[in-house]
């Protein structure tokens, strides 16, 4: 296996909006700037596969990035920090040992799934995951797609799928119409691009947006055929070919935790300059609070500027960030999960898909750790990324500490070079 060494003054982990903005800002200094992302191309989850036609903002940022001398390591996943200031990453053709002066974590967020009977049927998937599959070629033309869960992502996905020819049956949003209307007003007042992107899009006009409704079961013989929804206290069954679900987002904080960054309410704690509790480590975008593209771009720019010593310039972005953060707080408030969702899973519902652990097995234990040890939940290849946040909501459990590797890696890649060197010296 090839192992290469890289050195950057400023290294950014994550190539979504926050990471791209950070790289662009830091690159102005002429310092060596690198960006590592596990996807084959930059853009992150939100800008995946966007073109100048489909998203001019994304295209403009990518063009800015390419105008600078930023080294992009795509398809590369950071899995460990063997010693302070050095990350290890795995790519398709080998491993990298990446040394950094300043590190900016822009690791984004993932969808939260909540288990309900039938959620493991084929064609029941994450809303964002379905969108990603469609972007990479899954045909959905003429397919009936039901979208359920919570959060603005559902709307974006609905619009995208409809554009691609899918017949979006409806969007089922668990929050109330009133809460949603309040949120819409706030968004409109911001006159932000998010408003245009989501609320004013023509595609959404003839898709029913049903509030106060949530999925209670998916039915089908191996493959989903219908979804049962709770709506106004009554159950109704809707036929569908796909059920796209997402219960808002959870931040990807694993790398931050591995590096020893302090968390606060589940988010990476940062100061005004996006500095974490660890020296030389900054964090921007969703891991500091779910706030969407606009806030991520601002935080990314601030982190990038501070990393190259331009605190003054960064300060000029503080007021814009303040406005966007109030939006982020409104997001959290609006799309908070209603308590009824805690009773969606029945005793026989699988919660940990990697290890086939059922809800009834988990509830016999009092903590994540006890459940993990005795049922194997969270011990599979996803390392608890799905069932961890689910049980955090369902049972109030706190996840365990993070250990390397933070993603599964080829075993040989766990043998760090620092060790090989030592061995070598020893033999000599």
């Amino acid at each position: 296996m090839v192992s290469a060494r890289k050195q950057f003054d400023v290294l950014i982990v994550g190539g979504g909006p926050a990471g791209i903005a950070a790289a662009v800002s830091a690159a102005q200094s002429g310092k060596r700037v690198g960006i590592v992302d596990d996807n084959p191309a930059l853009g992150g989850q939100i800008w995946r596969g966007e073109t100048a036609q489909s998203n001019s903002e994304a295209a403009a940022w990518l063009a800015k990035l390419h105008a600078w001398d930023v080294e992009v390591c795509a398809g590369t996943r950071v899995f460990d920090q063997p010693v302070s200031g050095v990350l290890r990453a795995e790519s398709g053709d080998g491993t990298y040992q990446i040394e950094y002066g300043k590190l900016i974590l822009a690791t984004g967020a993932r969808e939260r799934f909540l288990p309900f009977p039938g959620w493991t049927l084929q064609n029941v998937m994450g809303a964002g995951a379905l969108q990603a599959l469609v972007k990479s070629g899954l045909p959905v033309s003429g397919k009936r797609v039901a979208i359920a869960g919570t959060g603005p992502l559902l709307l974006a996905v609905a619009a995208y799928l409809k554009n691609d020819g899918a017949k979006v049956v409806a969007i089922y949003e668990q929050v109330s119409r009133t809460a949603l209307a309040k949120f819409a007003l706030k968004v409109a007042a911001q006159r932000g691009k998010l408003a245009q992107a989501l609320w004013l899009r023509k595609e959404l006009r003839d898709i029913p947006l049903i509030t106060n409704a949530w999925p209670v079961a998916a039915r089908g013989n191996g493959v989903v055929e219908s979804v049962v929804l709770c709506r106004g206290g009554k159950h109704e069954e809707i036929a569908c070919d796909y059920l796209a679900c997402g219960f808002h987002l959870v931040p990807n904080t694993e790398l931050a935790v591995l590096l020893g960054c302090r968390l606060q309410n589940g988010y990476v704690q940062v100061d005004d300059f996006q500095q974490t509790s660890q020296p030389n480590v900054f964090c921007a975008g969703e891991p500091t609070g779910i706030g969407g593209v606009e806030l991520s771009l601002i935080e990314g720019q601030i982190a990038g500027l501070v990393a190259i010593g331009k605190e003054g310039e960064a300060q000029s972005l503080f007021s814009a960030r303040r406005k966007m953060r109030s939006f982020a707080e409104a997001l959290d408030r609006t799309f908070a999960l209603r308590p009824e969702l805690k009773s969606l899973a029945s005793t026989g519902t699988i919660v940990c898909r990697c290890e086939d652990v059922k809800y009834g097995q988990m509830t016999q234990h009092r903590s994540w750790r006890a459940a993990k040890l005795h049922t194997r939940c969270g011990m599979g290849p996803c390392q608890g990324r799905v069932c961890g946040p689910a049980t955090q909501f369902l049972l109030g459990w706190t996840p365990e500490s993070v250990r390397p590797p933070i993603f599964p890696v080829a075993l040989e890649n766990l043998i760090s070079e620092t060790h090989e060197e030592k061995e070598h010296t020893f033999v000599m």
Partner: protein
Amino acid sequence: MSAEKYDVVIMGAGIVGAACALECARQKMRVAVVDHDVIGGGATAAGMGHIVVMDDSEAQFALTRYSQQLWQQLRPELPDDVEYTQCGTIWVAADDEEMAEVHRKASYYQRRGVPVQILSAEDLARLEPNLRKGMAGGLLVTEDGVLYPPCAARFLIEQAQALGATVQVGAPVAEIGNGRVRRADGSELSAGVIVNAAGAWAPELTRGISVKKRKGHLVITDRYPGFIQHQLVELGYLKSAHSVSSDSVAFNVQPRRTGQVLIGSSRQYGAEHKEVDHEILGRMLQRAQEYMPRLSQTSAIRVWTGFRAATPDKLPLIGPWGEDSTVFLATGHEGLGITTSLATGRLLADQLSGRASQIAREPYLPSRATTMEHAHV
């Protein structure tokens, strides 16, 4: 407020504490088990779960063999999630010198009635084709097995509970002695006997006992059913594991019922933090790769560490602690606690109930330890 009263209070709900609780409860004692964390959360959670007969010393052999037989007797009652599998151990000989050790070990075991089979180079390659080519051979110990320790501990605890034992988890203890257990919240339990089964943390409750932490690392892969069939341990393990002073690694891999491969082992003294140590992890995996080159491309999904409770003579401490007549010890099992837990429970309950034991108990009495010194300090 009067203290809760028990005949026996056991400190630690690991597999050793669990076995002690069950055996005491069977002797009609009123038993409580107290643990600061969860059932099987310490070395029990971290260990491999290898049920193995060992022959470092006669006493070690007697204890491991006796305990293995107790596991075999218990086997029909073990629930499915304990995953007891009698897969056998193969002691792998890399060269002729180690092959000579195979023959010595074989005759030692045969003389004592332990079924073994000497494997030629060809036999070994046929049984475990993923081992590197050119091994000298090995020794298959057919009655050795593996299990999943946290569920085994839970099962023993549940059996004890069915006989009336009380279990208090998430209950940190500040102090034990003179027939009293004082919890961190100030409340107390009163006991005729307190059994310190707190593993590597036992010295925090009973100062002065000859138990040191010996840190280990393990790695588990994704599922590769059939990758290995037996627990495989290098015979060079004897050279490395026996050193009581220096850090060491050895090739020691285990097939899990899930098809996962559990990879060990490392031994470190003086390492107090549970964080992964990259240097020794690297050495351990390099060793594993040398023995089993195809492991290098398997997907490693988790790494963890744990602390063995090590004694200078590699034998556990089972019996009264001379400095406090109410305190008994059941700790110091190092890497063999899963194997020897059941025998420990029996020997302890024998002593408490005045019953004769099936094996000599003297080699494990803490009183022997007064003359022991840790070689490394």
